[in-house]
């Protein structure tokens, strides 16, 4: 019954009521919340600031003593990454397999999620459970067998190997999320469309997809997220040609010691795609994290 109450006009009420509440209630609770939130965000941002701070320093400055901000801002570290092919190709490699994986996962998951949300069939519950367990499977278990498998079929060191490997946990997740959103669409819509003479593919694309568009967005977001942040499999399944950026970063340890500035700059750049994606979906985050299931 959660959905029934949020009808049009009550939106204005829901905004106004807490406002009035805050005014009527005593001050300390309001500031208490602000304090908790501020401290938490500070805790989240400090390490990232430190990385950014370091990426703008020279190695001289980093190792010669602690400075809270760069005394002498340098962009050399970034320039190096953007001009050295072995660096920037790492980003391209990572983004390539992440995008392939996201598209694959959604494409595979859509029909399956529809089946789970609309029908009962032989072994459905067990199948669903089995799918979910793969989301929980530790990548460490699969690293070596995947290496053997993809070497055997000649996909080793291609983006496809990583994209397919990530499907192991992203497809079940996408099925789960999409199933939640699809179950929220009343089945009468399917029936009405059938009566109106829509063929199934046309109904699915023209009517059903727009209804679960936010679900597809959420599922794509999570696929992107988990594929982007995973490293163990990505590193195991690639060597030279398609090395992900995260693996390239280990190169900063060289005979001449750590190139801290370069490492930090590379780290900052790996945060950027994620931050961009979040910025675009910021208005759907709350709904998205409910996974269509609240």
């Amino acid at each position: 019954m959660s959905g029934t109450i949020a009808v049009g006009r009550s939106d204005t009420k829901s905004i106004a009521a807490p406002q009035a509440a805050n005014r009527a209630l005593s001050g300390p609770r309001v500031t208490g919340r602000v304090v908790v939130m501020t401290l938490y965000l500070l805790f989240l941002m400090l390490p990232i600031y430190w990385l950014l701070n370091m990426s703008l320093k020279t190695n001289m400055e980093i190792t010669s003593g602690l400075t809270l901000w760069p005394r002498e801002i340098t962009f050399d570290n970034y320039i190096k990454i953007f001009t050295d092919e072995s660096w920037y190709s790492g980003y391209i490699n990572s983004l390539t397999y992440v995008l392939i994986n996201t598209v694959l996962s959604i494409a595979f998951a859509l029909p399956a999620a529809y089946a789970f949300s609309r029908y009962r069939f032989l072994g459905d519950k067990h199948l669903f459970f089995w799918l979910l367990t793969n989301r929980m499977a530790p990548p460490a278990v699969f690293a070596l067998p995947f290496f053997n498998l993809y070497s055997a079929i000649g996909l080793f060191d291609t983006p496809w190997a990583v994209a397919l490997a990530h499907c192991l946990f992203n497809v079940p997740l996408a099925v789960w999320i999409l199933e939640g959103f699809m179950s929220g669409v009343p089945r009468e819509i399917d029936e009405t469309a059938a009566i109106d003479g829509y063929s199934f593919p046309r109904f699915f694309i023209k009517i059903f997809m727009p209804l679960i568009a936010s679900g597809v967005g959420v599922a794509a977001f999570f696929c992107f997220m988990f594929s982007w942040v995973e490293l163990l499999l990505a590193r195991t399944l690639t060597s030279v040609d398609t090395k992900p950026i995260a693996a390239t970063m280990t190169r900063t340890v060289s005979a001449a010691g750590m190139d801290w500035g370069l490492l930090a700059a590379a780290g900052v750049l790996t945060i950027v795609p994620g931050a961009l994606v979040i910025w675009f979906v910021r208005n759907y985050i709350a709904k998205g994290f409910a996974l269509g299931r609240v």
Binding site: M1, R9, K13, I15, A16, A17, A20, A24
Partner: protein, 366 residues
């Protein structure tokens, strides 16, 4: 128990309201007397709920004061106001039993255990909840849940007023009647001010001694159900109350005569103060418009006859304007042509929507 006074009250959800349109609630002055049964009637979005939430303290008004007896409570929180409110959709505390739910408002106010127990039993039997008192509230139907919400509103015996915000929306129709009369009984028994918000005229007219009709963020009329029927103070009231609603016809008035299109209607009162710029309308309820076979009276064409059970209503056209008229028993009409007879005592003239009193015409007192 208290008299509730709204003093120059107005509310806008926007910050810094300027024009009248910015206000969800336009200025209201009103006194709810102690022990009254009121209905707050109006269509969705007219500001009823806002007004209710201002009285209960959930919303703080932009301007004006709320007084309980002589105490200014405008700045008091809901908790401090000692008021009960029941919402449109059932609110129950899922983890508690029905008994705990009903006791919750008393427990929070440190009422003694024995008194709480006694009171809960009383309310439960009033609302027919005794059977389920020890069940988990979350496992009940919407009907039952709403009864629990009602019960929590009624359980405190000392409240200044009980506010109901369309409380029977989710209740089955046959139960609606029963619950409404239960509420009425409780009202008589307890002598508590009750304000009942609804958009359903039947609910309002059967529950309340006095009905406050709201439209577009303003109170347009306050009166007994009879008054609203007989003398609507605003065309909106005429239209909104009654089924079918009042006939509202644009017209021109000269002295004691109204011209509707080409038809002439003589009036009981004289209207001299109407100015040209105003929108002048004539209002008369279908109950006071009788259809007759063609002859004396205003000539009309019949479009349709509706049988609404207790009466027959004719949809007719007079000088091109649609009109509803009642067909007296035993009268049958051949063909499309007929005549109308208007009861002059129930013809009202409105200027820009508001009722105009007019002056008594030579010797006739209204």
């Amino acid at each position: 128990m208290a008299r509730i006074t709204l003093d120059h009250l107005a509310h806008a959800y926007k910050a810094n309201p300027r024009t009248a349109e910015d206000y969800a609630l336009k200025e209201i002055n009103h006194v709810w007397s102690q022990g009254g049964a009121y209905a707050l009637l109006g269509p969705s979005g007219c500001g009823k709920t806002t007004l209710l939430n201002i009285i209960s303290g959930l919303v703080r008004p932009t301007r004006g004061r709320v007084l309980f007896d002589d105490l200014d409570v405008t700045d008091l929180s809901t908790e401090a106001r000692n008021i009960a409110q029941v919402f449109q959709f059932p609110v129950v505390y899922d983890t508690m039993t029905v008994r705990e739910n009903l006791a919750f408002p008393l427990k929070n106010r440190n009422v003694s255990r024995e008194r709480t127990a006694r009171r809960v039993e009383e309310i439960a039997s009033l609302l027919d909840l005794t059977r389920v008192l020890d069940r988990k509230a979350s496992n009940l139907t919407a009907d039952m849940k709403q009864k629990i919400s009602l019960g929590r509103g009624l359980v405190r015996p000392d409240v200044a007023a009980i506010l109901f915000d369309e409380p029977l929306t989710v209740i089955d129709p046959h139960l609606k009647w029963q619950l409404r009369s239960t509420l009425k009984e409780i009202h008589r028994a307890l002598d508590i001010t009750m304000i009942y918000v609804t958009h359903d005229q039947t609910e309002a007219l059967t529950f309340a001694d006095k009905v406050v009709v709201m439209h577009d963020g303003a109170v347009v009329q306050t009166g007994t159900p009879d008054e609203l029927f007989e003398r609507p103070a605003h065309t909106f009231v005429g239209h909104f109350i009654g089924s079918p609603g009042m006939n509202i016809l644009p017209c021109r008035v000269e002295g004691a005569t109204a011209f509707v299109g080409t038809s002439l209607i003589s009036l009981r009162r004289t209207y001299r103060t109407l100015s040209d710029g105003e929108r002048i309308e004539l209002g008369i309820r279908p109950e006071f418009v009788r259809l007759q076979p063609k002859g004396a009276g205003l000539p009309v064409q019949i479009r349709r006859i509706d049988d609404i059970g207790r009466a027959r209503i004719a949809r007719v056209e007079m000088s091109g304007r649609p009109l509803a008229a009642s067909i007296p028993d035993g009268i049958s009409i051949e063909g499309n042509e007929a005549s109308l007879v208007l009861d002059p005592n129930h013809v009202h003239i409105y200027a820009n929507g508001h009722l105009v009193a007019g002056e008594a015409t030579g010797g006739h007192a209204a």
